[in-house]
């Protein structure tokens, strides 16, 4: 079956531009996570949705980062006024259970801010 998909796979943005990254989770999955993975590091948690409710956004690094999942399926991570330190791979993961269970990851979006 279809896994988690993310688009675009690669994004180059000039500093100061806004970007929107899309995640299509596995159909029916309740939980959706966003992570930021810097080069050579493990994923760092950004935010968590259970259906359409954003239950944890403690990992969002600043108010320039915003995520939504309005209908409880597709999610968008938006970064406003991008900075060079935002350059990273952004990973989306979904899970069939609420809370902390096995997660299925997408391939990620590599964002480069120039």
């Amino acid at each position: 079956g279809a896994g988690v998909s993310q688009s675009p796979r690669y994004k180059v943005a000039k500093r100061g531009q806004d970007v929107a990254l899309r995640c299509d989770p596995i159909s029916g999955h309740v939980s959706l996570f966003w992570y930021q993975q810097a080069l050579g590091q493990g994923p760092e948690f950004l935010t968590y949705f259970q259906n359409e409710a954003q239950l944890d956004k403690s990992g969002l690094p600043s108010d320039r980062f915003f995520a939504e999942r309005p209908e409880g399926s597709v999610s968008t991570l938006k970064i406003q006024r991008t900075q060079q330190e935002d350059s990273a791979v952004y990973l989306c993961a979904s899970s069939s259970h609420p809370g902390l269970y096995e997660q299925y990851f997408g391939p990620g979006t590599r964002l480069t801010v120039t």
Binding site: Q41, G42, P43, Y48, Q50, F105
Partner: protein, 113 residues
């Protein structure tokens, strides 16, 4: 606060040799523990998980891990590696009291012919 430490950033090994990738965690409460693998330009894939019960957990691709509560470790092992096992391996623990999962910095496994 919970944390995950992967003691080796890179592990080179010859094909068909055994390998152990080390992971230590800190937690004052009961834990779930996971190992994920990331192949180049791909997302993470679950290798195995410990939720409860037997401390020896078997996963996909011949990998296994042992939960050791007294040493707060969850080391990953494979008795004979293949070239195709070359990848980045991440140990992870869910954070209690929230929804985040904490990942280690990763161990890059290089399997040489």
């Amino acid at each position: 606060a919970q944390s995950v430490t992967q003691l080796d950033s890179q592990v080179p090994v010859f094909e068909e040799a055994p390998v152990e990738l080390r992971c230590n965690y800190s937690s004052s409460v009961s834990v779930y523990l996971f190992w994920y693998v990331q192949y180049p330009n791909q997302g993470l894939q679950l290798l195995l998980k410990y939720l409860s019960g037997s401390t020896l957990v078997k996963g996909i691709n011949g990998f296994e891990a042992e939960f050791n509560k007294s040493q707060t470790s969850f080391h990953l092992r494979k008795p004979s590696v293949h070239i195709s096992d070359t990848a980045e391996y991440f140990c992870a623990v869910p954070h209690t009291g929230g929804f985040k999962t904490i990942f280690g910095a990763g161990t890059r496994l290089f399997v040489k012919a």
